[in-house]
């Protein structure tokens, strides 16, 4: 085995690295595919806020003695409904609604924790690490990836139409609020599964960054989806390997890798910027 090949493959002799790699692949596909819709529907913040809100559900579940994962999903559901309601019914801007619902649930979670729920259980449920994924986690993630991919492919027509022009879809009789809630729930699922298996930082960045990067370079929908998956898997596998060799924590390094890939995608625009009117009107 050559030097380079050893550098690339050696780390994967450890079974925890093999697990981590499979896990990174699954989330590197599922998160960007879900994130595409978030980035185009001004839901990026939601993805992020979801990870805060989840604390409320986990705390409540731990106080009431229920399943923590279900508790987390429950608060994602509450978040989805509250945000959809606030935006649709009260003319509140998306980001304000998200901030209010997310931070409000987070505050409730912090209060719940301070009421003396079981801290052991809490930390068990709240945070993951790509190096500690178990076989159960892997099954969960693979199921998630399959579910997300399948759902997006199946519902591509309605996702496309409502993302581009929600008003038009409503004029056709589409219940866009139902779709919105469904989408937020799906995002919540990705965030909760991701945060409990590979950690919150990595899953949030994998939802946002590859999708945004793809939006910068791809000109078609198909191209955007393919590019996002490519960037997501590249960042997660590359980041995993780099973290091993640099002896740094894997989750944050993968996050940094994903952000760096966006920077690479933005470079051509930063340099030439032909597309949007130059802000200060300098000639191109």
């Amino acid at each position: 085995m050559s030097e380079a090949l050893h550098w690339l493959l050696g780390p994967f002799a450890h079974d925890f690295m093999q697990h981590a790699a499979i896990s990174c692949l699954a989330l590197g596909i599922a998160a960007p595919i879900a994130g595409i819709w978030a980035t185009h529907r001004r839901m990026v913040y939601l993805t992020d806020a979801m990870s805060h809100a989840v604390l409320a559900g986990v705390a409540a579940a731990s106080l009431l003695g229920g399943s923590l994962l279900l508790g987390g999903l429950g608060s994602a559901a509450v978040m989805a409904v509250v945000v959809a309601l606030l935006v649709a019914r009260s003319r509140l801007a998306e980001d304000s609604a998200i901030g209010i619902a997310g931070q409000g649930l987070f505050a409730l979670g912090v209060i719940g924790v301070s009421l003396g729920s079981d801290p052991r259980a809490l930390s068990h449920a709240l945070f993951g690490n790509p190096l500690t994924v178990t076989a159960t986690d892997l099954a969960l993630q693979a199921g998630l990836a399959a579910l997300v991919l399948g759902t997006v492919v199946l519902f591509l027509p309605v996702l496309t139409a409502t993302t581009f022009d929600a008003g038009h879809a409503r004029s056709l009789g589409v219940k866009t609020t139902v779709l919105d809630v469904g989408l937020v729930l799906a995002l919540g699922l990705v965030v909760v599964v991701g945060m409990t298996t590979v950690g919150v930082l990595m899953v949030v960045v994998l939802c946002i960054a590859p999708a945004a990067g793809a939006g910068l370079v791809a000109r078609t929908l198909a191209g955007t989806l393919a590019t996002a998956v490519g960037l997501g898997t590249a960042a997660s596998l590359g980041g995993l390997l780099a973290a091993y060799h640099l002896a740094l924590p894997a989750g944050p390094v993968i996050a940094v890798a994903a952000v760096l890939l966006v920077a690479v995608c933005a470079l051509p625009r930063l340099a030439v910027r032909t597309h949007r009117p130059a802000p200060e009107g300098a000639p191109a």
Binding site: H40, P157, F164, R170, L172, G215
Partner: protein, 236 residues
């Protein structure tokens, strides 16, 4: 005459105290080409949105023969300034294809007939050559024509158009009128707000003059010559 495809009774649109549309009664029948004229702020957009089932209102609206508050398949509505996420990377043809979305079966792709209807609508509005251009790159008038093509592609029984000619060049406006006339021939009803009376004369057989209330409603040929006394602002 046949039963109306659209019937409004006592329709009122009020915004926190201000009445924008006041007790409007209105019938539109198959194959009618109706122009809605009125000054800025007359309530045209408010009325059209309410008729499409998307705006707040009180009073009753019957669409395509069936009652109910919901938007009805069979109606295509193009608002004055739609709120689009143009950063979403769709081509003009993909935008037109969203016209065949099924309100219930969210997974349905356009079938052959719908694909043909989309291509035909783009031909009629003379935007077939823009089919593969990203929608975000289109000029104001080009984008408007693509959105009108999407409405045509829905194969609607009733077209509700809010200032469809605004921003179109002279040729495109004429093309649009020709396309609307052809649709009416095939039985579709059209209700469109229009400012330019030449365009009204060119294509619309019936005219409704709105200024909060309906001031006049009749055949264009009879109504427009006499409109000066009724609505002096129309001939300023």
């Amino acid at each position: 005459m046949s039963t109306p495809i659209l019937a409004a009774r006592g329709l009122v649109v009020a915004y926190s105290g201000r009445t924008a549309v006041d007790r409007v009664d209105l019938n539109v029948r198959h194959a009618e080409l109706v122009a809605l004229v009125g000054p800025n702020g007359a309530g045209k957009s408010s009325l059209l949105a309410a008729l499409a089932g998307l705006g707040p209102h009180t009073g009753s609206v019957l669409r395509c023969g069936c009652t109910g508050a919901q938007p009805t398949p069979g109606i295509a509505y193009v608002p004055q300034s739609p709120d689009l996420r143009t950063a979403f990377p769709l081509s003009a043809a993909q935008v037109v294809a969203t016209g065949s979305l099924d309100a219930r079966r969210w997974w349905r792709r356009p079938d052959a007939a719908q694909r043909a209807a989309a291509a035909d609508a783009m031909e009629r509005l003379d935007v077939a050559d823009l089919a593969h251009r990203p929608f975000a790159d289109l000029s104001g008038g080009q984008a408007r024509r693509v959105l009108l093509a999407r409405a045509l592609a829905q194969g609607p029984k009733l077209l509700l158009l809010d200032e469809p000619h605004a921003g179109l060049d002279v040729e495109a406006a004429t093309t649009l009128n020709t396309a609307l006339a052809a649709l009416a021939q095939a039985g579709t009803a059209v209700l469109a707000s229009v400012h330019d009376l030449d365009l009204v004369r060119g294509a619309f057989t019936r005219t409704i003059v709105l200024d909060r209330r309906i001031l006049a409603d009749g055949p264009t040929s009879e109504l427009l010559p006499a409109v000066g006394s009724l609505a002096p602002w129309l001939v300023a």
